[in-house]
Amino acid sequence: AQSVTQPDIHITVSEGASLELRCNYSYGATPYLFWYVQSPGQGLQLLLKYFSGDTLVQGIKGFEAEFKRSQSSFNLRKPSVHWSDAAEYFCAVGAGYNNNDMRFGAGTRLTVKP
Protein backbone atom coordinates (compact mmCIF):
# COMPACT_ATOMS: atom_id res chain seq x y z
CA ALA A 1 0.00 0.00 0.00
CA GLN A 2 1.07 3.54 -0.59
CA SER A 3 2.49 5.69 2.20
CA VAL A 4 3.91 9.16 2.79
CA THR A 5 6.65 10.39 5.07
CA GLN A 6 7.13 14.01 6.04
CA PRO A 7 10.44 14.03 7.91
CA ASP A 8 10.04 17.47 9.47
CA ILE A 9 7.42 17.82 12.18
CA HIS A 10 7.99 21.54 12.69
CA ILE A 11 9.85 24.17 10.68
CA THR A 12 10.46 27.82 11.55
CA VAL A 13 11.47 30.34 8.90
CA SER A 14 11.74 34.10 8.85
CA GLU A 15 9.31 36.10 6.79
CA GLY A 16 10.77 36.65 3.33
CA ALA A 17 13.03 33.61 3.52
CA SER A 18 12.70 30.65 1.21
CA LEU A 19 10.93 27.47 2.22
CA GLU A 20 11.22 23.81 1.37
CA LEU A 21 9.03 21.14 2.95
CA ARG A 22 10.04 17.56 2.35
CA CYS A 23 7.83 14.68 1.31
CA ASN A 24 8.79 11.11 0.47
CA TYR A 25 6.28 8.60 -0.83
CA SER A 26 6.13 4.88 -1.32
CA TYR A 27 3.99 3.50 -4.12
CA GLY A 28 4.58 0.86 -6.76
CA ALA A 29 3.01 2.64 -9.70
CA THR A 30 2.94 6.23 -10.89
CA PRO A 31 1.51 8.14 -7.96
CA TYR A 32 -0.96 10.94 -7.75
CA LEU A 33 0.65 13.44 -5.39
CA PHE A 34 -0.87 16.35 -3.55
CA TRP A 35 0.05 19.08 -1.12
CA TYR A 36 -2.66 20.45 1.15
CA VAL A 37 -2.56 23.27 3.69
CA GLN A 38 -4.63 23.40 6.87
CA SER A 39 -5.05 26.48 9.03
CA PRO A 40 -6.06 26.00 12.68
CA GLY A 41 -9.61 24.71 13.00
CA GLN A 42 -10.06 24.54 9.25
CA GLY A 43 -10.38 21.88 6.60
CA LEU A 44 -7.76 21.15 3.98
CA GLN A 45 -7.08 23.37 0.99
CA LEU A 46 -5.32 22.01 -2.06
CA LEU A 47 -2.09 23.85 -2.93
CA LEU A 48 -1.06 21.78 -5.94
CA LYS A 49 -1.15 18.32 -7.46
CA TYR A 50 0.91 16.10 -9.74
CA PHE A 51 -0.52 13.41 -11.98
CA SER A 52 1.85 13.26 -14.93
CA GLY A 53 3.82 15.41 -17.33
CA ASP A 54 6.04 18.27 -16.23
CA THR A 55 7.66 17.31 -12.96
CA LEU A 56 7.67 20.90 -11.69
CA VAL A 57 4.15 21.92 -10.80
CA GLN A 58 2.91 25.36 -9.86
CA GLY A 59 0.24 25.88 -7.29
CA ILE A 60 -1.68 28.60 -5.56
CA LYS A 61 -0.21 31.21 -3.23
CA GLY A 62 3.16 31.09 -4.98
CA PHE A 63 3.95 27.48 -4.06
CA GLU A 64 5.59 24.95 -6.35
CA ALA A 65 6.64 21.33 -6.00
CA GLU A 66 8.98 19.06 -7.89
CA PHE A 67 8.34 15.37 -8.48
CA LYS A 68 11.54 13.31 -8.46
CA ARG A 69 10.82 9.69 -9.24
CA SER A 70 14.41 8.57 -8.58
CA GLN A 71 14.20 9.94 -5.05
CA SER A 72 10.51 9.16 -4.45
CA SER A 73 10.11 12.75 -3.38
CA PHE A 74 7.67 15.56 -3.92
CA ASN A 75 9.07 18.54 -2.05
CA LEU A 76 7.13 21.78 -1.67
CA ARG A 77 8.89 25.10 -2.14
CA LYS A 78 8.21 28.80 -1.92
CA PRO A 79 10.81 31.46 -2.68
CA SER A 80 9.60 34.03 -0.15
CA VAL A 81 7.41 33.13 2.81
CA HIS A 82 4.68 35.44 4.10
CA TRP A 83 3.39 35.53 7.67
CA SER A 84 0.04 34.24 6.40
CA ASP A 85 1.72 31.00 5.26
CA ALA A 86 1.95 29.80 8.87
CA ALA A 87 -0.13 26.63 8.94
CA GLU A 88 0.05 22.83 8.82
CA TYR A 89 1.10 21.32 5.51
CA PHE A 90 0.20 17.80 4.42
CA CYS A 91 1.60 15.76 1.58
CA ALA A 92 -0.66 13.00 0.25
CA VAL A 93 -0.46 10.18 -2.27
CA GLY A 94 -3.51 8.85 -4.04
CA ALA A 95 -4.06 5.40 -5.44
CA GLY A 96 -6.68 3.69 -7.46
CA TYR A 97 -8.81 5.06 -10.21
CA ASN A 98 -10.42 7.72 -8.13
CA ASN A 99 -7.80 8.16 -5.42
CA ASN A 100 -10.18 6.16 -3.32
CA ASP A 101 -7.56 5.44 -0.71
CA MET A 102 -5.57 8.61 -0.26
CA ARG A 103 -2.77 8.43 2.30
CA PHE A 104 -1.56 11.50 4.11
CA GLY A 105 1.70 12.24 5.84
CA ALA A 106 1.70 13.32 9.48
CA GLY A 107 2.14 16.94 8.46
CA THR A 108 4.71 19.69 8.89
CA ARG A 109 3.84 22.69 11.02
CA LEU A 110 5.24 25.92 9.63
CA THR A 111 5.96 28.86 11.92
CA VAL A 112 6.90 32.19 10.36
CA LYS A 113 9.02 34.62 12.36
CA PRO A 114 8.55 38.35 11.75
Binding site: G43, Q45, K49, Y97, N98, N99, N100, D101, R103, F104
Partner: protein
Protein backbone atom coordinates in the same frame (compact mmCIF):
# COMPACT_ATOMS: atom_id res chain seq x y z
CA UNK B 1 -21.06 27.81 -5.68
CA UNK B 2 -21.12 26.21 -2.25
CA UNK B 3 -18.20 24.02 -1.42
CA UNK B 4 -18.32 20.96 0.79
CA UNK B 5 -20.41 21.54 3.89
CA UNK B 6 -20.48 19.50 7.07
CA UNK B 7 -22.71 19.48 10.12
CA UNK B 8 -22.55 19.84 12.99
CA UNK B 9 -19.39 21.87 13.55
CA UNK B 10 -18.77 20.49 17.02
CA UNK B 11 -20.20 17.58 18.92
CA UNK B 12 -19.72 16.20 22.42
CA UNK B 13 -20.73 12.64 23.24
CA UNK B 14 -20.05 10.14 25.99
CA UNK B 15 -18.54 6.69 25.68
CA UNK B 16 -20.91 4.08 24.32
CA UNK B 17 -23.15 6.55 22.53
CA UNK B 18 -23.77 6.71 18.82
CA UNK B 19 -23.16 9.70 16.54
CA UNK B 20 -24.14 10.75 13.02
CA UNK B 21 -22.18 13.28 11.02
CA UNK B 22 -23.43 14.80 7.80
CA UNK B 23 -21.79 16.01 4.59
CA UNK B 24 -23.02 17.76 1.47
CA UNK B 25 -20.62 17.52 -1.46
CA UNK B 26 -19.52 20.32 -3.72
CA UNK B 27 -22.01 21.02 -6.48
CA UNK B 28 -21.49 18.63 -9.38
CA UNK B 29 -19.58 16.04 -7.36
CA UNK B 30 -20.84 12.48 -6.95
CA UNK B 31 -18.27 10.83 -4.71
CA UNK B 32 -17.80 11.36 -1.00
CA UNK B 33 -14.88 10.23 1.15
CA UNK B 34 -14.58 10.41 4.92
CA UNK B 35 -11.40 10.89 6.92
CA UNK B 36 -10.53 10.88 10.61
CA UNK B 37 -7.89 13.34 11.77
CA UNK B 38 -6.66 12.81 15.31
CA UNK B 39 -4.94 15.71 17.05
CA UNK B 40 -1.48 16.27 15.62
CA UNK B 41 -1.92 13.65 12.90
CA UNK B 42 -2.67 13.58 9.23
CA UNK B 43 -6.11 12.53 8.01
CA UNK B 44 -6.76 8.80 7.82
CA UNK B 45 -9.08 7.40 5.16
CA UNK B 46 -12.24 5.79 6.56
CA UNK B 47 -14.27 4.99 3.44
CA UNK B 48 -15.58 6.29 0.14
CA UNK B 49 -19.10 6.28 -1.26
CA UNK B 50 -20.22 6.40 -4.87
CA UNK B 51 -23.64 5.58 -6.29
CA UNK B 52 -24.89 5.02 -2.75
CA UNK B 53 -22.45 2.17 -2.18
CA UNK B 54 -19.28 1.89 -0.14
CA UNK B 55 -16.52 1.48 -2.73
CA UNK B 56 -13.39 1.41 -0.63
CA UNK B 57 -12.67 1.16 3.06
CA UNK B 58 -9.68 1.99 5.18
CA UNK B 59 -8.55 0.22 8.31
CA UNK B 60 -11.51 1.12 10.54
CA UNK B 61 -13.79 -1.23 12.50
CA UNK B 62 -17.39 -1.97 11.63
CA UNK B 63 -18.49 0.54 14.27
CA UNK B 64 -17.88 3.06 11.52
CA UNK B 65 -20.56 2.94 8.87
CA UNK B 66 -21.91 5.30 6.29
CA UNK B 67 -24.57 6.06 3.81
CA UNK B 68 -24.91 8.06 0.63
CA UNK B 69 -28.22 9.47 -0.49
CA UNK B 70 -29.55 9.96 -4.05
CA UNK B 71 -28.61 13.65 -3.88
CA UNK B 72 -24.99 12.54 -3.20
CA UNK B 73 -24.95 13.79 0.39
CA UNK B 74 -23.54 11.41 2.94
CA UNK B 75 -23.63 10.42 6.58
CA UNK B 76 -20.97 8.90 8.78
CA UNK B 77 -22.23 6.87 11.73
CA UNK B 78 -20.09 5.74 14.62
CA UNK B 79 -21.53 3.30 17.18
CA UNK B 80 -20.32 2.44 20.68
CA UNK B 81 -18.10 5.50 20.87
CA UNK B 82 -14.67 5.17 22.44
CA UNK B 83 -12.48 7.90 23.87
CA UNK B 84 -10.12 7.28 20.96
CA UNK B 85 -12.79 8.30 18.48
CA UNK B 86 -12.28 11.92 19.51
CA UNK B 87 -11.03 13.63 16.36
CA UNK B 88 -11.80 15.98 13.52
CA UNK B 89 -13.88 14.18 10.92
CA UNK B 90 -13.37 15.46 7.41
CA UNK B 91 -15.56 14.90 4.42
CA UNK B 92 -14.18 15.27 0.91
CA UNK B 93 -15.98 15.21 -2.40
CA UNK B 94 -14.85 14.54 -5.95
CA UNK B 95 -16.17 13.69 -9.40
CA UNK B 96 -15.64 10.03 -10.21
CA UNK B 97 -15.44 10.49 -13.95
CA UNK B 98 -12.54 12.85 -13.39
CA UNK B 99 -10.45 9.86 -12.42
CA UNK B 100 -7.62 10.85 -10.16
CA UNK B 101 -8.78 14.38 -9.71
CA UNK B 102 -8.49 16.25 -6.48
CA UNK B 103 -10.76 15.92 -3.51
CA UNK B 104 -12.33 19.03 -2.03
CA UNK B 105 -12.50 19.03 1.74
CA UNK B 106 -15.09 20.43 4.09
CA UNK B 107 -14.26 22.26 7.32
CA UNK B 108 -14.81 19.14 9.40
CA UNK B 109 -16.79 18.13 12.46
CA UNK B 110 -14.92 18.15 15.75
CA UNK B 111 -16.09 15.16 17.82
CA UNK B 112 -15.20 14.96 21.50
CA UNK B 113 -15.94 11.75 23.38
CA UNK B 114 -15.97 12.04 27.18
Amino acid sequence: DAGVTQSPTHLIKTRGQQVTLRCSPKSGHDTVSWYQQALGQGPQFIFQYYEEEERQRGNFPDRFSGHQFPNYSSELNVNALLLGDSALYLCASSLRLAGGDEQFFGPGTRLTVL
